[in-house]
């Protein structure tokens, strides 16, 4: 069951590459692998914790005000992440900048709260948060590896190849759009081929 869940989070329902959720942070912070991984971890933490709490409270929260309740729960964990990043990872905090508080409105997190955690038990919600976070992180890492190598000729901060002339456009805004377009196209192409279309 666990391996099935992991496959669902990473491949079948990958939040970024298949469901196209959480696009803003994924394009904005994928300029280097460190940023991408840091963002992925932060979002995974918030997603898992909020999934657990929302699932615990799912019978208490009234139907009509559920969205504001979800947002407050999510915002609480985002504040925790903000304070931890400021205290222990100031460099990463500076790099991610405005996108740390913006985890609150990341549609992956609110989407999972609404579609999964408010309907399932605690354990399943915990697993769902973890695998969805993992899928988010992996997709971010794929995007940021491509952009960091092509855009600044580096990988994890180390020089990649002495002869390659980096294309700066890939760490700028347009490169983000192009990268996700082709990665998403590739994923769809492989999916189509598997189905035999």
């Amino acid at each position: 069951m666990i391996s099935q869940e992991i496959k669902r989070g990473i491949i079948d329902e990958n939040p970024i590459l298949v469901l196209a959720l959480g696009l803003c942070p994924s394009l904005a912070v994928s300029t280097s692998v460190q940023n991408g991984f840091g963002m992925g971890m932060a979002a995974t933490f918030v997603l898992t914790c909020s999934n657990v709490i929302i699932s615990l409270l799912r019978k208490v929260i009234p139907e009509k005000v559920r969205i504001p309740c979800f947002i407050v729960i999510i915002a609480t964990f985002v504040t925790i992440v903000q304070l931890v990043l400021k205290a222990y990872f100031p460099a990463l905090d500076k790099q991610l900048g405005i996108f740390v508080p913006l985890i609150v409105v990341n549609c992956v997190i609110l989407g999972r709260a609404e579609a999964y955690a408010s309907k399932n038990n605690v354990f399943r919600s915990l697993v769902d948060g973890l695998v969805m976070g993992l899928g988010f992180t992996i997709a971010l890492c794929i995007l940021s590896v491509i952009r960091e190598v092509l855009g600044s000729n580096k990988l994890l901060g180390f020089k990649f190849s002495p002869r390659f002339q980096p294309m700066t456009v890939f760490i700028l805004a347009p490169g983000g759009f192009f990268t996700i377009a082709f990665v998403m196209g590739m994923v769809r192409h492989l999916g189509n081929r598997k189905k035999g279309v």
Binding site: A20, V72, Q82, V104, V105, I180, A181
Partner: protein
């Protein structure tokens, strides 16, 4: 004192140089979600400008007169998102009561705006230290920044909707149909907007 030059600076910065969608990557979900038809793009754009302007003023007052005063600025994220969520509800109810025509035009877009990261983004930018000048925006500058960021968002949204309406029936490779080709379109637009970053406006005026 209203500094006119700073207002002009903010306008050009928010609409062209740091366009919310094409260079800051904020508000991408509505940008791709509502850009299929020109008419709905116009409605969404208007709604965003409206909410951004009101949200900018409310959150600025909240931050400087409540949070900063009582040293609660670590609560900024929670307070701002709640203010925005409440505000959107109020605007929706007020429009429904007092201006049914406007409500018909903007109504369905308003609930989407709560989770639009562009709105929360602009309020956070307004209360953060400005990276270029190292100063915080005043109330008037904040509201103006909200309006202009909304205009920049709407401009990008309208351009995108215009292009997508034209290319709807274009033959596209199967794997790139739908979203991926929209991303490529947005990338080309961003490439064009990159030209504005050469406008060395801030150093000329600020220096």
């Amino acid at each position: 004192m209203v500094n006119l030059i700073s207002l002009v600076e903010i306008s050009i910065g928010a609409v062209f140089i740091n366009n919310f969608v094409l260079s800051r990557f904020l508000g991408l979900c509505p940008f791709f979600g509502v850009s299929k038809k020109l008419s709905s793009a116009a409605g969404m754009g208007m709604a965003v400008i409206f909410v951004m302007a009101i949200a900018s003023s409310l959150t600025w007052l909240m931050y400087h007169y409540v949070l900063e005063l009582y040293r609660l600025d670590y609560l900024r994220t929670i307070v701002f998102i709640l203010v925005i969520a409440g505000l959107v509800q109020l605007v929706e109810m007020a429009l429904q009561k007092y201006s049914p025509t406007l409500y018909e035009a903007l109504g369905i877009f308003l609930p989407l705006i709560t989770t639009n990261c562009a709105v929360l983004g602009v309020t956070i930018i307004n209360t953060d230290l400005n990276q270029v000048t190292g100063m915080q925006y005043t109330l008037i500058e904040s509201v103006w920044n909200g309006v202009m960021s909304g205009v920049g968002f709407s401009l990008a949204l309208l351009l995108m909707a215009g292009i997508r309406e034209k290319t709807e029936f274009a033959p596209v490779p199967k794997a790139l149909e739908g979203l991926p080709i929209a991303f490529i379109t947005a990338g080309l637009m961003a490439l064009a907007f990159l030209g504005f970053s050469g406008l060395n406006f801030f150093t000329v005026v600020g220096g």
